[in-house]
Amino acid sequence: MRITVKLFATFRKGRFDAEVREVPPGATVSRIVEEVGLPEKEIGIVLVNGRHAKLWRALADGDTLAIFPLVGGG
């Protein structure tokens, strides 16, 4: 199946802004995070089709996944 992956902020560096990827049916957000090479402890907000989602969420064909880094400074 095909999904669109959008990366934000520091996650774009050396990777991409947005990319359509071919992934196995039922692939989870975690799997994509690993494939793209994002450190899991740096992950902040995850959105699937614009709604908040957890890392174990299984994706469906045509989904758009957006991943933001964890921002906590003050």
Binding site: F8, A9, T10, K41, E42, I43, G44, I45, V46, L47, G50, R51, H52, A53, K54, L55, W56, R57, F68, P69, L70, V71, G72, G73, G74
Partner: protein
Amino acid sequence: MEDLRAFLANCARGDLLPWADQVAAADRFHRTVGSVEGAALELGLLPARYQRNRRTLSTAEQLRLFQSRVVIVGAGGLGGYVVEELARLGVGTLVVADPDTFEEHNLNRQLLASPANLGAPKVEAAVERVGTINPAVRVVPVRYAFSRENGAELLAGAGAAVDALDTVTARVALARACRDLGVPMVHGAIAGWYGQMATQMPGEDITPFIYPSGNEPKGVETNLGNPAFTPAAVASLQVAEVVKILLGQGRCLSRRMLFLDFLEMEFMEVPIASGPASRDPG
């Protein structure tokens, strides 16, 4: 009180009260300039320092700000700018909590930091700064870290709280305390070119959305640091939210959050699912 009112009415130029007369009234009637400010606003007189507010904030609204108490948790990058702007706006009481002292690496961005006060408590610098820019505003310095145990005492009587903390753990604890006490809270966080913010109104719980895992105490700011403009920009957005909360105006950033990218100059609005506070966003 009648004498003070008559004195103020007599000094006013139109409905503006010049600063020199506010100070003269305080001297003559043995009051603080803050107390004189309250009396003037109640009479419908606007301290002249706020005259450029008046097309945006009425005298009645200025009185409401003067009667408000805002708790700012953290007096670092975000907190320094938040204190500055709330004081210039004329919010009457600012409770500023931070256990830290200034260090050299704060100088690149923290409004209250200067070479002269390295090693001094941040909350003392807040008292000094506000005393310099708007002596009518009272600062209550609190030199300890926010915790679940002291949250209720710290937040008592607050019209709004500002999350200007620097760890995820403390931010989540503050949001929970504010939710328990029904105090509106404005969250802001920064890292390098990036920031995020959201407003938690009473009855809402933003923590599962702003920090979904909640396991990591710090974010990418550990690697990125923070330049001067990121805290200034995010703090200003937080202050705009606080003013709207105190005055019941406009539309707050409730049930949505903003992710700010100053490098690409992209501001992303992300919806926060509505529904019961305990609902799992997954």
